[in-house]
Amino acid sequence: MSKTQIEDINRNIYDIKNKDEYDYKIQKGLTKEIIEELSKQKQDPDWMRELRLKALDVYNKLELPTWGPDLSELNMDEIATYVRPKTKMSNNWDDVPDDIKETFDKLGIPEAEKTSLAGVGAQYDSEVVYHSMKEELIKQGVIYTDMETAVHEYPELVKEHFMKCVPVHDHKFVALHGAVWSGGSFVYVPKGVKVDIPLQSYFRLNSPESGQFEHTLIIVDEGASLHFIEGCSAPKYNKVNLHAGCVELYVKENSYLRYSTIENWSKNMLNLNTKKAIVGKNAQVDWVSGSFGSKISMLYPMSILNGEGSKTEFTGISFAGKGQNLDNGFKVVHNAKNTSSVVNAKSISKDGGTCTYRSLVRISENAKNSKSVVSCESLMLDDISKSDTIPVNDIRTDEVEFSHEAKIGKISDKTIFYLMSRGMSEEDAKAMIVRGFAYPISKELPVEYAVEMNNLINLELEGAIG
């Protein structure tokens, strides 16, 4: 039987390109004038305009990172940082233009809202086009809206927290984000309110040679709880697109936040995203992350355990195929007594793809009686793919429990033979092994996302057609 190798898989729904229609697209590049114009278009208050200009200044002063994947192909003069879709924000799907609505329909967003979500936000290019939440949560004082609305309607709350958890000088792409951010979600859960059903924001970048810079700011007040899901995708273009979002999470005393991400950017995307959580006394933040798309990804969610007895868990999987370099990981700072962190990271690489797990565990002197358990496992599906683990462990007190375990493996011919003897083709066998490997992660996702993740794995493994 002859096999035809195909270069790139059919990502079907993810690859549907809409016509590049927009209401306003800013000129490419990054200058003070462009930022001023962007700020004017967005009707920023003064403090926000100043923050943008200061961030631009920092951006111009900072160098590209000297470690990790090569970012030299990124030329900011070629990227339009702001593309406003031809619509206004709405809380009614019927008001969303047909082509945009159709895209979100195919991605299953309105359907998910009906069946399993408490609220939905949908961003198309630079602006949020839809936002809605269940009535009962509104009555309980929960705020879930797009970031622009929040800037105008909740100025104190936003000003107190915006880019305080992730300051603009953190690194070059955070500074860039500060200068050109647009869209994203704002969530506030009042004291003691438990939001049992997840909220979800979906980010879709349709416009070529552009960037998406959404800002997500979540405040979970004392004793409250929330599950937030973000999904991202884009159709593939020949030139690079840039995603430099920023996520700031404030998890106050005795509260709980779970932040889940399924990222399936197209393979021309540079995903240089920054996510950070500040965790209060006896509070907990859990990160669940599935990273499938992007040409280059540099993403290291960070938990800062500032409160005594605070906890964090990171559960993540990266899947790198041909031409992909996914440099992902996790950072945690233990800053108080009795804190704990658990990391379970997995990666899969195939067809020459590269996966790197890069991490930082810092346990400061005052974090006595803390605990950190790190486990990372990689699976390589062939001999040309790469996998690496680069952990930095900075432990400044003796009174801790710390363990780090790393495993790198390949699928053995014996295992393939075993599965083939049960009637499975070689591709079926590999897909089953990979799904099993990913299962500890997928079981942490809401069921429809676990299904989507398995579909993505199957798509990725359809490397040969009969």
């Binding site: 053995s412 003897s421 009637g423 499975m424 799904r435």
Partner: protein
């Protein structure tokens, strides 16, 4: 049902099988016995065309079709099953899900979920496999005995035309061997066949077989009935080794 004609097989440079001839008709249980290194496991792997072994000469005919060069999964779908000496571990895939998927691939039909579950539980009970084991990752953390019983469970669920059992009895205690024998008896009917590969005779105490073949140094040196196994039990293989 199965006919092996003048089969020569290498593992790398090493010649293992040197002209095997074997014919199994439906309704028969055959046993291949032989000392370590005589080529028993190679025979089983060659029938399922494990790419680790290279066929140099000869052919394998199954139900009138030449399967010598077919891929392993194609042979499995034609109805040949092999119970492994060392079954592989598949983390994250439960026994139940694995078997449901395999059943679907083998039959080419959608599996009826409730009917399948009932059948699976019934066989598990017969083989003294705990129901919670069906929800554990396949073979991960299983004892040697659990793995072997699980292979028999797979045989019963997948219901092949020919089951090859490679050292399924080795390393098992008396009770486990009885359970395995019971599984084989449940499976066996006039329309299918069994090929048991073993280096000892224990399983033959609780199972009636039709033919016993003695394999020494890559060749079948003698074929007989159940009595031949008793003779081997008493005298060993010494008589059949080359001087």
């Amino acid at each position: 049902m199965l006919e092996i004609k003048d089969l020569y097989v290498n593992a790398g440079e090493k010649e293992i099988l040197k002209g095997i001839n074997l014919k199994i008709n439906k309704g028969e249980i055959h046993v291949i016995m032989g000392p370590n290194g005589s080529g028993k496991t190679t025979t089983a792997n060659a029938i399922l065309n494990n790419p680790e072994y290279q066929k140099k000469q000869g052919s394998i005919i199954f139900e009138g079709k030449d399967i010598t060069e077919l891929k392993t999964d194609e042979i499995a779908r034609k109805g040949v099953f092999m119970s492994f000496q060392l079954p592989e571990e598949i983390p994250g895939v439960t026994v139940a899900n694995f078997l449901k998927y395999a059943k679907n691939k083998i039959t080419g039909k959608p599996v009826k979920v409730f009917q399948f579950k009932d059948e699976l539980k019934k066989y598990a009970n017969e083989l003294k496999i705990k129901e919670e084991t069906l929800e554990r990752s396949l073979n991960v953390g299983f004892s040697g005995g659990e793995k072997k019983k699980n292979e028999i469970l797979q045989m019963l669920v997948l219901n092949p035309k020919l089951a090859i059992l490679d050292e399924t009895d080795s390393g098992l205690d008396v009770d486990a061997i009885k359970t395995v024998s019971k599984g084989i008896e449940m499976f066996k009917n006039d329309e299918n066949g069994v090929l048991i590969i073993t280096h000892n005779t224990k399983i033959l105490h609780s199972l009636k077989v039709d033919y016993v073949h003695i394999l020494v140094d890559g060749k079948i040196v003698k074929t007989g009935t159940q009595e031949l196994a008793s003779e081997i039990e008493e005298n060993g293989y010494e008589k059949y080794r080359k001087g």
